[in-house]
Symmetry: C2
Subunit: 202 residues, 2 copies
Amino acid sequence: MSASPAALILIADGTEEMEFTITYDILVRAGVRTVSAFVQDLAASVLAGPNPPFATCSRGIRIGADMYFDLAQCGPDMYDVVIIPGGARGADTLAGHPSVQELVRRYVERNKLVGMICAGSLAAQTAKLEKQPLTSHPSVKAQLQDDFEYSEDPVVVSDNLITSRGPGTAFPFALTLVEMLCGPQKREEIRGPLVFPSQTPF
Amino acid sequence: MSASPAALILIADGTEEMEFTITYDILVRAGVRTVSAFVQDLAASVLAGPNPPFATCSRGIRIGADMYFDLAQCGPDMYDVVIIPGGARGADTLAGHPSVQELVRRYVERNKLVGMICAGSLAAQTAKLEKQPLTSHPSVKAQLQDDFEYSEDPVVVSDNLITSRGPGTAFPFALTLVEMLCGPQKREEIRGPLVFPSQTPF
């Protein structure tokens, strides 16, 4: 557990904006240095974009990323966790990108955390991670259930791979990352001001 | 209940990005035509900004708004609901803006919905709405409890004024707006794919 952890969260056109925003915001609240990196769709006709880059997310919200994704600038020597959000089109871009696949493998090899939520869990498959417990959005379960020990728990922790299901599990996903990066006390500290309804199970 | 309702959501520098994003995204999922309008801080030294405008939100995420706020373009003849998110600095800008106060009064007078969450509920006070049930983030309770029938429920519906508490209540807040604009069936329809953990109380 680093005294001042750092997180990298990837974003692309079509990323689910609630999953991105909840994860980023909660990490910042916990004092984690959080950086977003925009991954370009290699199939897009025009690769040059604005600087800094903006993603048009799954429900039309435009979000400014902190930088363009670059494998050399995003490695496990610089961050303690890499996070891959969902949103069908965004997850296709992220999971299908060879440099993102290589990035995921490098984080696993260096024993850093890898977080995937919703269709972002497809990146576990494209990065050829070993068979292990995992969850995802139900819409991509059929693609993943043969290659992983598929679970329907809201958040699945398999050593350093943390997976989750969708926007409705983004809060417990982000709070789990906070706990793993900063400890259970920090998780409790930031939970109060979020004002969850009583009986909320996370 | 309109067949194709429309929602206006205000945003400013310092707006809480989870509250903005969850509400906007959920409304779009329900088929509501949703438009965000950027409100400039009248105390800022430079009022001219980029076009389209971008807000720097409370935890550093930059979000592109669909247009600049303009009272004449944002009235209750054009939208079925106006929503005011929280985030301390953003809510100060929104609640303190005379044209936003006038906008809130016009929606109330025309019997359209007004949604406020977190510190956004301060706008009920600055718009001088009548004493009625209301909630807010706990951090601004002391400012509001004399002028309203203060509640600590996650979502408070007082005729056409819907108020809520913080990021942790943004999902039930947005789902309540969907139910009021589109009916309970639409709320159920969009709830499933969000994949809330079982036992989630909304």
